[in-house]
């Protein structure tokens, strides 16, 4: 019976202009979104290549200089390519890169705001991480038209457009009572209608989405990429499922088509637009992050004080780092570079509480967002899609923690050399950075949680709707 209704519904849907309008809209939106995302990935790759090529040119020049110096040429101490202080802070600074992930073109996410490459030197961690990409502020404010935008904003509207008059439309045409005069329940009829619509929409979105993605040249050779694609399909399907359940609840209330449409449009507005921005507002009020101006000033004050104390700090520094103390203490105490190390160390010690305040407030905000994300399925699915594209906060934090580790290693390496006054002869002995991806088990756990967050309410709301449908007034 169900199969026959489904077949029949499919015939009806095929004949309806709405489906083909939707195919046209979704098709062009998806094609544009994927193309746009791909362009962004190309831009990122270009930027990363430019940063790497700058590093290559700098190292080539450095090698040439080292050879000249080795051959006996004299240089000023501020430009000496052997000096570990010069190398670590400027000359040999290394670019740490977060490469775009294989599915980066699907969601731009935060990748246009958070830097995908930083120049690591012996400067403070904050200075190293403060770099930003040049990007139009207008575009940052507006957000991107990527595939995630299509899924998060447009797909629910299409679900609602396909579903809102499923029952009321037939009632208004007068065909509902005729259909239900046959040996079929309203529940079965509605189930068939939902199955047909959901399947059609899912096939369109996933088919067109994956089709365009493959045309952009994404390789599926890697198992991890294939797994991510599967999670992508599952998340989109679950999100659609939840919106069908929401639409069903609206339908089951038994109002007229126009009233149902208004109600569902209102729900869409609430869940996709209002809740996310209200939540943004709320977390900022509860855990306000101070203006970075406070950090600027704190650093300024700390560096004034540290510089004023100058050489005195050095003694304290040696007390803290006895392993660095050299035999020739007298000489070390007057060495400009060693004093600077001690001063910078002291500045960072003083500024650390202020920096910690920023990090704390931000992680409190993040914790609050995690807790209340469930209030909006749009937030849940957007986070998942960013995560799968490697353009979310998750992967960037992973990158930042690796950069921090590398920054520590870099500093240790040069600090020892500065204090011991060992010139660097071989550039290949410097520490190097390679980003290592998160293990896929972490991603898997997050994706399971996402699916549960979307599917549990979908099942509950769907069940509620079917219960209500039993009492649906078919006539009158």
């Amino acid at each position: 019976m169900l199969a026959r209704i489904i077949r029949h519904e499919w015939q009806m849907l095929k004949a309806d202009a709405v489906l083909w309008v939707i195919v046209a809209i979704v098709g062009s939106a998806i094609a544009y979104g994927v193309w746009n995302g791909t362009r962004w990935v190309h831009f990122q790759e270009g930027a990363i290549e430019a940063a790497r090529s700058e590093e290559r040119v700098r190292f080539d020049r450095l090698t040439a200089q080292l050879e000249k110096v080795a051959a006996g040429e004299r240089v000023s101490p501020f430009a000496d390519p052997r000096s570990p202080s010069n190398l670590g802070s400027r000359l040999a600074a290394k670019v740490a890169v977060l490469p775009p992930a294989p599915l980066g073109a699907l969601t731009v996410g935060q990748s246009d705001l958070l830097p995908s490459y930083v120049r690591v030197s012996t400067e403070s961690r904050e200075a190293v991480l403060a770099s930003t990409e040049v990007e139009s502020p207008l575009r940052l404010l507006t957000g991107r038209f990527d595939l995630a935008f299509v899924v998060v904003y447009l797909v629910p509207l299409l679900v609602l457009a396909l579903a809102y008059s499923m029952v009321s439309g037939e009632k208004e045409q007068g065909t509902l009572s005729m259909v239900l005069a046959q040996p079929v329940s309203l529940g079965t009829l509605v189930a068939a209608k939902v199955v047909v619509r959901a399947a059609a929409l899912l096939v369109i979105i996933v088919g067109l989405g994956l089709g365009t993605l493959l045309m952009t040249g994404v390789s599926l050779a890697d198992a991890a990429t294939r797994e991510r694609l599967l999670w992508w399909v599952a998340s989109v399907a679950a999100y659609m499922g939840l919106w069908f359940a929401i639409a069903l609840v609206g339908v089951s209330l038994g109002r007229g088509s126009a009233a149902t449409a208004t109600l569902l449009a209102g729900l869409w507005l609430l869940l996709v637009v209002i809740v996310p921005s209200a939540l943004t507002l709320g977390v900022q009020q509860l855990y306000p992050v101070p203006s970075r101006v406070a950090l600027v000033q704190a650093t300024r004050v700390a560096s004034d004080e540290a510089n004023a104390q100058g050489a005195r700090l050095l003694a304290a520094y040696y007390e803290d780092h006895p392993e660095l103390a050299t035999g020739d203490a007298e000489q070390a105490m007057t060495d400009f570079n060693v004093v600077r190390l001690a001063v910078n160390d002291d500045i960072e010690k003083r500024v650390r509480p202020v920096v910690a305040q920023f990090d704390e407030q931000l992680s409190s905000q993040q914790a609050l967002v995690e807790r209340f994300r469930v209030l909006s399925p749009a937030l849940v699915v957007h986070e998942a899609l960013s995560d799968l594209s490697g353009s979310g906060q998750q992967r960037h934090r992973h990158f930042v923690s690796q950069v921090s580790g590398f920054h520590d290693e870099w500093r240790r390496f040069f600090t020892q050399k500065v204090v011991a006054k060992t010139p660097v002869a071989d550039l290949s002995s410097l520490p190097t950075f390679t980003y290592s991806e998160e293990p896929s088990s972490a991603l898997r756990a997050r994706m399971m949680a996402t699916l549960a967050t979307l599917l549990v309410p979908a099942v509950l709301l769907g069940g509620l709707a079917f219960i209500r449908l039993r009492r649906y007034a078919i006539a009158g």
Partner: protein, 470 residues
């Protein structure tokens, strides 16, 4: 007649539970966003004013040192928040707030507030402008879609038309009724926002701010009229209220969510900007070209020797180091003007494309105007950045002139408080409203065009109104 029609619309709306719910939601959001805007503004203004005072104290409190050391110590300039940023934060979250003014280098403004926020901010910030320009229009569309289409379905449209009311009056009355309903929501919120702004700036609410506030209000009003016109036209044209609703929701989605994204994409393609690494490389290449520096210094040396009619630098009555430092600054300034000028021109061009894109979506013209009037658009950011850079150049010139005058060859030269206080404190005056609107001519024209178009459409659709279904 208009009054009667308007009163009927308003009465009907005020009895509708959905209208009351929507109105309440918008009211709550407007109040919450204004309150948040106010808190944000007061916090930022206080922090920035305090920091600006501190940076001045630090500058004046420097111990005796060579002026060039002081130049490297530098000062900071902090961008003040404009009063109307309470209503529209515009681009501020995505633009830097502080810039370090030191020797040899023009820096970009640093620290975008957006980088200290969670990822969900990208769903959009809830501020007064967002409520006024995105949510209120949706509210208007939901109110207007059944105005003609609904009456037709109820059969009351036939009666109404049999009265022989001129279409002109009918449209005006319906529009007035709708706007009166909107006013019920907007007026209290606007009053609240005005009080908040006045309170936030008890002693410094400038005449310029008042005219900006009035202009911002007028922009919103015109935009509401455009949306009302479109809503009435579609309601009169649509065969059923269902079609009217779907069409208007589609219009809202396309103009409010899709058009801004496509507009910024097109703007970015027409006026592309380099990536940060590329920009920095090109800048550094022009800035520190050793051959250029050698030739420039040789030229400067020759010119100076000729000017003072001496044969060696030691015989000069001025310190050559001061002259060469300033020559480096002059060269740098020319390079910075070229590179930053090109980059910022591209951003300005992008903003101009955004104004033109108002032809496709009136929201873009209205938002462009709103950000400009609130002082949170790119042009005013650039205005501040330019003022800060001009101040940096003044500092460098003052210090280098002092070195040229007072430094003696072979002797250390230390300057003190007298020199530091000769550098004036940094003050910034925001541009006038005329300056702002002059850069928004396109948006103004486009919005006026939309107003005419929407009015004409509504009138036309009402003239051809059919009282019967199908």
């Amino acid at each position: 007649m208009i009054g009667t029609i308007a009163r009927k619309e308003l009465t009907e709306l005020s009895r509708d539970g959905r209208f009351r719910l929507l109105a309440a939601v918008i009211l709550v959001l407007a109040v919450a966003s204004t309150a948040a805007g106010w808190l944000q503004f007061t916090a930022v203004s206080r922090q920035h004013a305090e920091a600006q005072r501190e940076t001045r104290e630090q500058w004046l409190g420097q111990q005796e040192k060579n002026p060039h050391s002081a130049a490297h110590y530098g000062v900071y300039a902090f961008k003040p928040a404009s009063h109307l940023s309470i209503v529209d934060t515009g681009l501020d979250p995505y633009l830097g707030v502080a810039v370090w003014l030191e020797a040899h280098r023009q820096s970009e403004m640093k620290f975008r507030p957006a980088q200290d926020r969670t990822a969900i901010q990208r769903f959009g910030e809830l501020n007064g402008a967002e409520v006024l320009l995105v949510l209120v229009p949706l509210f208007i569309l939901l109110v207007t879609f059944p105005v003609f289409a609904g009456e037709r379905e109820q059969g009351t449209l036939r009666q109404l038309m049999s009265l022989g009311v001129a279409p002109r009056l009918l449209v005006a009355g319906k529009a007035l009724g709708t706007l009166a309903a909107v006013a019920l929501v907007i007026v209290p919120v606007s009053a609240l926002a005005a009080v908040a702004m006045a309170w936030a700036s008890a002693d410094s609410y400038l005449a310029a701010d008042v005219s900006r506030t009035v202009a911002l209000g007028a922009t919103c009003l015109v935009y509401f009229l455009v949306v009302t016109g479109v809503g009435l036209a579609v309601s009169a044209w649509a065969p059923s209220s269902r079609v009217a609703l779907v069409t208007l929701l589609g219009f809202w989605f396309a103009t409010s969510l899709v058009a801004p994204r496509i507009a910024t994409d097109v703007a970015g393609s027409l006026h592309p900007t380099p990536n940060a690494a590329e920009f920095q490389r090109a800048l550094d290449a022009d800035l520190s070209d050793p051959e250029e520096a050698r030739q420039r210094l040789a030229r400067l040396q020759a010119e100076t020797l000729t000017k003072y009619n001496v044969t060696s630098l030691d015989a000069l009555p001025v310190a050559f180091s001061g002259l060469s430092l300033q020559s480096g600054e002059d060269h740098g300034n020319e390079v910075f003007d070229r590179h930053f000028g090109r980059l910022h021109d591209q951003f300005s061009n992008q903003a101009r494309v955004y104004q033109w894109a108002g032809l496709a979506s009136p929201l873009l013209a209205a938002r462009s105007l709103s950000m400009a009037l609130a002082g949170t658009d790119f042009e005013q950011h650039r205005h501040f950045a330019k003022a800060a850079e001009a101040y940096r150049r003044d500092i460098q010139r003052t210090l280098n002139d002092d070195i040229a005058r007072n430094q003696r060859a072979g002797q250390p030269y230390l300057a003190g408080t007298e020199l530091w206080s000769r550098v004036p404190d940094f003050t910034y005056d925001a541009p006038s409203i005329g300056w702002v609107l002059g850069r928004q001519a396109t948006a103004l024209t486009v919005l006026a065009g939309w107003l005419t178009l929407a009015g004409a459409l509504a009138l036309l659709a009402t003239r051809r109104l059919s009282a019967t279904l199908g």
